[in-house]
Each structure stands twice: as structure tokens, then as C-alpha cells.
């Protein structure tokens, strides 16, 4: 038997495979294909204080080995989430991580407070890196001081573990990571999508209603892996790695680069059972390579022989 358990921010996960926010809905949609109880954790779609209708369509366009999305944080708001979605999620034996976003520091604080009063939430993932909303989002994620401020606001309003999700659209992601670490973050999620765009040649206009979108999928894996590597070298917080993880091999690259857990995003769209396939692949790898504990592999690629 191999030991797949992993501890992140005081949370003990039965395995390192998590769903990436916004790509797994609130998980009902995937329940026909995935035994949710087998997942390490579920991260839900980004929640805001008030309901948001999101960006005008088109919201998605395919690009080489990737997709651009500009959903714009469409979500039913925290009250609806608490009343109608959390009870559904609570039936399962799987930690629920709530991804949260706001337009002001105050909003993050209030939202954190509200969420902390609910039962059955395992951790908060603070999204300061959404490229698809005008206010908030990336604005906080691209400035170390602002990122720290949001982190502190959330920390002061919750006793739940706080995971801060960082953006790759910055000059030095290590600097932002360091800032939120000092502000009290318990863990880091890296990376959110990379800002991109596509143009419709026939219309001679941007394809997406929002002009810009966030690039995800295999195309960004090299960038995500580099971000995990860099942050692992400079910051001692546990890292949840994500960005183009489609196979167990991809996941293992992230783990060797320094991620304690991995989140599967766009891959769910291509293979709704991707999370489980990745989980089983990791388990097989450990078994075949006679590695007893997954945690022994974390950051393994950093050690010079």
C-alpha cells in the first residue's frame, strides 16, 4: 500500500487530487461520472457576496492545446450557495474548499466572515487572480501589497485555513507569494489562468465578449510548473499546483517541482473522469517505483544528486 495522504494548511487530504475552481461547477454536474468521495478535495466555482451574472458571451474559445475563458465569475452569490449548494456537497466524505472573490478588500472580509459561519467548509481559497473581471481579481493579485492586504482581511475574519490563489501575470510570482505568506496565508494555489485573447478574422473583432480571457490547459503547463518551482524555492508554504494537468505524469511533474497537491481544471472538460484517472496513475507510479509515501516526492526535482 502506498500512502497518498497529504497535509495542507492543517487539512489532511486522503490524496492530492483536487478539482480546480470553476471547472467542476459545484460538482453535481460531474457526479454521474466521478465518485466524488474518491477526490482529495473539491474546490467549488468562485463565490462572491452578491450574485453575479458574468460576462457577455462568447465566453470561451479554443486555442492551440488550450482554451481562453472569460466567464466573469458568474455565480449565485454566497447566500444561495449556503442555502442550496453546501447541503448537497455536505453529503460527501470530501473536504470542500470554497473559492472566493471580491471587488474590494472589505468585500473579501465580509465574505470570509459569512463563509466561516457555515458548516462543512474545509478551507477558503482566495482568488486574487481572476483575469476576467474588471474590479478585484487580478488587480489584487498583481500587486504584492494589495495581495497581502486581502490575505490579512480574510485571515482576520476566519478560522478556516486560507489558501491564496496567485496569478502568473506578474513579473515575479515569488514576490507576491512571499507577501501573502507574511500576511498569514496557510497555503498557495498556483496558477490561475494567463491573460490572453483571440481575434475573429471574419468579424475583425475579439472573439470573447470580454475581449481578454484566461488561458488554461496543456499550453500553460510549462509556465505553471515554473511558477511552482520558483515559489517552492523561496517560500515554505504548501503549494497546490495547477495549470494544464491532464495526466498522472503531469501531476507528478508538479509534485516533483514542489506541489503537495494538484488541481485538475480544463482536463475535466476533455475527460470528465480525469481526476480519477490521474489519482490512479499517481498511485500506480508510486507502487511501480516503490515509493512508500507521496510526500517523499514533493520537491524531489530540486535536490541535486
Amino acid at each position: 500500500m502506498v500512502d497518498l495522504t497529504i497535509e495542507i494548511a492543517g487539512l489532511r487530504l486522503k490524496n492530492p487530487v483536487i478539482t480546480a475552481s470553476g471547472t467542476f461547477g459545484f460538482s453535481q454536474e460531474y457526479a454521474p461520472y466521478v465518485d466524488l468521495n474518491r477526490l482529495g478535495a473539491i474546490t467549488v466555482k468562485g463565490i462572491t457576496l452578491l450574485p453575479r451574472s458574468g460576462n457577455p458571451p462568447p465566453r470561451l474559445v479554443e486555442t492551440p492545446a488550450g482554451i481562453l475563458n472569460a466567464i466573469g465569475l458568474q455565480n449565485p452569490g454566497v447566500d444561495y450557495f449556503a442555502a442550496s449548494i453546501l447541503p448537497y456537497l455536505s453529503q460527501f466524505e470530501v473536504p470542500v474548499i470554497v473559492n472566493m472573490a471580491g471587488e474590494t478588500v472589505e468585500e473579501y472580509a465580509v465574505l470570509a466572515n459569512k463563509l466561516s459561519e457555515l458548516n462543512n467548509i474545509a478551507a477558503l481559497e482566495v482568488n486574487i487572480s481572476c483575469p476576467n473581471v474588471e474590479k478585484g481579481g487580478l488587480q489584487f493579485g498583481s500587486d504584492p501589497a494589495a495581495a497581502a492586504e486581502v490575505t490579512r482581511a480574510v485571515k482576520n475574519n476566519t478560522s478556516l485555513p486560507v489558501i491564496v490563489k496567485l496569478s502568473p501575470n506578474v513579473t515575479r510570482i515569488e514576490t507576491v507569494a512571499q507577501a501573502v505568506a507574511q500576511a498569514g496565508a496557510d497555503a498557495l494555489s498556483l496558477i490561475n489562468t494567463i491573460l490572453g485573447m483571440a481575434i475573429d478574422l471574419k468579424k475583425r473583432r475579439p472573439v470573447l465578449g470580454n475581449i481578454f480571457g484566461g488561458l488554461s490547459g496543456p499550453a500553460i503547463k510549462p509556465v505553471a510548473l515554473r511558477a511552482v518551482w520558483q515559489v517552492f524555492e523561496e517560500v515554505s508554504l504548501p503549494i497546490i499546483g495547477m495549470g494544464g494537468i491532464f495526466t498522472a505524469q503531469d501531476a507528478l511533474e508538479f509534485i516533483m517541482a514542489g506541489a503537495k497537491a494538484v488541481a485538475v481544471g480544463t482536463a475535466n472538460f476533455i475527460n470528465p473522469r480525469a481526476t480519477i484517472d490521474i489519482l490512479e496513475g499517481i498511485e500506480n507510479y508510486l507502487r511501480e517505483n516503490k515509493i512508500k509515501r507521496l510526500s517523499d516526492l514533493v520537491g524531489a526535482a530540486h535536490c541535486k544528486q
Binding site: E29, P32, P57, R59, L60, V61, I67, I270
Partner: protein, 290 residues
């Protein structure tokens, strides 16, 4: 009852230049599939193109439990699909979405005195339902499956209106004619190579004006559907349309595929997921973009 599986292709034929009919062993029971539902399938095992492609269920064979899709080659995904042959395998997610409402049912609404007040069709059942099925181009795909189901229902007549660019692009006409004596076929071609020379919506307009239609099902280019919607509103006739949007997940999780639909309050709107609340919508629900 929806499933995700690798299946074998049992047959693929190019039934018109650039149009393919592809059958595969169904991983789900075809009896439970609704006309208008779609399957989301991966054309090939590469990251480029990355996403699966959605295709309406065009035909089912209950005996063999096979599904067929009818598609047009328009880009790389469909070009890859067209290269597949018997016994090749691909993954199929489905059936997905919400299909057409077979009459009678509570999901059909007939506007009375304009689009605001609506009532379930049950409260207004014509003793004999006169249905129009309106297809533009490859839009015939979900409608053929619909016809396979409609043909067994009692007390209705079916006018099938098909619009294509030219007779060369006419799909499944013979199969439709032989479905049932209830079915009457009307053709329109852009180039006049067959049937009415003009748009299929003009035939629909004539039938509606003559008050010969109680209910419409339509699928085709959005420009056509928009005209269908205008006609139905004008003549106060209910109908359902099948929409297309770029999809991400296909299962309702990602919120990529939304279309604008009327909201609960006047002049308000809400986004509806084409993959989940659709692809079939009551025609009055949709807010058509210019």
C-alpha cells in the same frame, strides 16, 4: 443514465459532399435519449484540437442500440472525425442537455396576447396537433431523431420544412419521406436547384399565415432561427429551437455556453446554459442578439 465511454464506430458514410452519417454502439440506452439531446465526443487523441465536439443525436436504432450523428465537415475536429472508419474508437459523453418536448407536455408554452403571458400547452390542446419541423442545413440532425419519435404519436400531422443551399446538400430526404404517411416534406433551396427558390422561413411564413400550424420545432443557423422566432411571436404560435454555442465542459459546470434568455422581471435577462437548460429552448425564452 448519462455516461462517458469509449465506443466503436459501426459505420460511417459520406451521404452528401462534406456531410457524414456516423453510427456507433451506444454506451447508453437509446430508449432513454430524447430528441434534441447531444453527445460530446473527442474527435482524436491529441491536445490540438483540445476540446470534444458536440453533435446532436440524429438517429437511433433501438434494436441494435446504436446512435448515429450527422455532421458537416467545417473545421479540424470534424475533418479528423471524417477520417474514422468502422471499428475505430472514440470517447462519447452523453446523452447531454435537454431535448425537444414531445406533445403534450408542460414544457411547451403558447404566448397569449404577446410574449409576456404564457400558458402551458395542456391548457390549450388542439384536438389535432399540426406540427411544423423546420430545418436549415445540417440542422436536420436533431430533427430527424425527433421525427423518429413523433411519427409514432397519434393525432398529429407533420410538415417538414427543409432549407438547404442547393440540392447537393439535401440530407435524409428519402428517409424522412418514408418515415410515416403523416409526414409532408417541403423543400427550399437558395439556388433554386430543387423545391422553393428562396428561404425555408418563407414557406413557414405562408403556412403560419394560413393558420395551418399549431407548434414548431426548428434547428439551423441562428439567423434562420431568429426569423422563425419572429414569425412565431407574430402569429402567436409556440415552438422550440435548438441552439449552438461554443462549449467547454458540456455538462453544465463551466458556464461557457450561455445564451441570453428572458429573465423573471420585465426587460431583465438571465444566462442559460445551452448544454444544460438547452440546447432546446422554448422560442420565446431566447433574447436574440443582432
Amino acid at each position: 443514465m448519462t455516461s462517458y465511454n469509449t465506443v466503436n464506430i459501426t459505420r460511417q458514410d459520406e451521404i452528401a459532399p462534406g456531410f457524414y452519417l456516423l453510427s456507433f454502439k451506444s454506451p447508453f440506452s437509446v430508449h432513454q435519449a430524447q430528441p434534441g439531446q447531444f453527445v460530446y465526443l473527442r474527435c482524436d487523441n491529441t491536445y490540438d484540437p483540445l476540446l470534444p465536439r458536440p453533435f446532436s443525436i440524429a438517429m437511433v436504432d433501438g434494436g441494435k442500440n446504436e446512435v448515429a450523428i450527422l455532421y458537416q465537415v467545417v473545421g479540424r475536429g470534424t475533418a479528423l472525425l471524417a477520417q474514422k472508419k468502422e471499428l475505430d474508437r472514440f470517447t462519447v459523453l452523453g446523452p447531454l442537455g435537454r431535448g425537444f418536448t414531445l406533445p403534450p407536455s408542460g414544457r411547451l408554452f403558447r404566448p397569449k396576447g404577446g410574449p409576456k403571458r404564457v400558458e402551458p400547452l395542456e391548457s390549450f390542446p388542439p384536438s389535432f396537433l399540426r406540427i411544423a419541423v423546420v430545418a436549415g442545413g445540417v440542422g436536420i440532425a436533431p430533427l430527424f431523431f425527433l421525427l423518429q419519435r413523433l411519427k409514432d404519436l397519434p393525432d398529429l400531422t407533420i410538415e417538414v420544412l427543409i432549407g438547404v443551399r442547393s440540392i447537393k446538400q439535401l440530407l435524409l430526404a428519402t428517409e424522412i419521406k418514408s418515415l410515416s404517411p403523416q409526414v409532408k416534406l417541403h423543400l427550399a433551396t437558395d439556388d433554386g436547384s430543387c423545391g422553393f427558390h428562396g428561404s425555408v422561413t418563407e414557406i413557414l411564413a405562408t403556412l403560419l399565415k394560413a393558420d395551418k400550424i399549431d407548434l414548431v420545432y426548428a434547428c439551423g443557423p441562428e439567423a434562420m432561427l431568429k426569423i422563425v422566432a419572429e414569425l412565431l411571436t407574430k402569429h402567436n404560435v409556440p415552438g422550440e429551437v435548438s441552439l449552438e454555442r461554443q462549449m467547454g465542459c458540456g455538462v453544465g459546470a463551466c458556464l461557457s455556453c450561455v445564451c441570453k434568455a428572458k429573465g423573471e422581471r420585465e426587460n431583465s435577462f438571465r444566462y442559460r446554459r445551452v448544454c444544460k437548460e438547452g440546447p432546446v429552448f422554448p422560442v420565446q425564452e431566447i433574447i436574440w442578439e443582432e
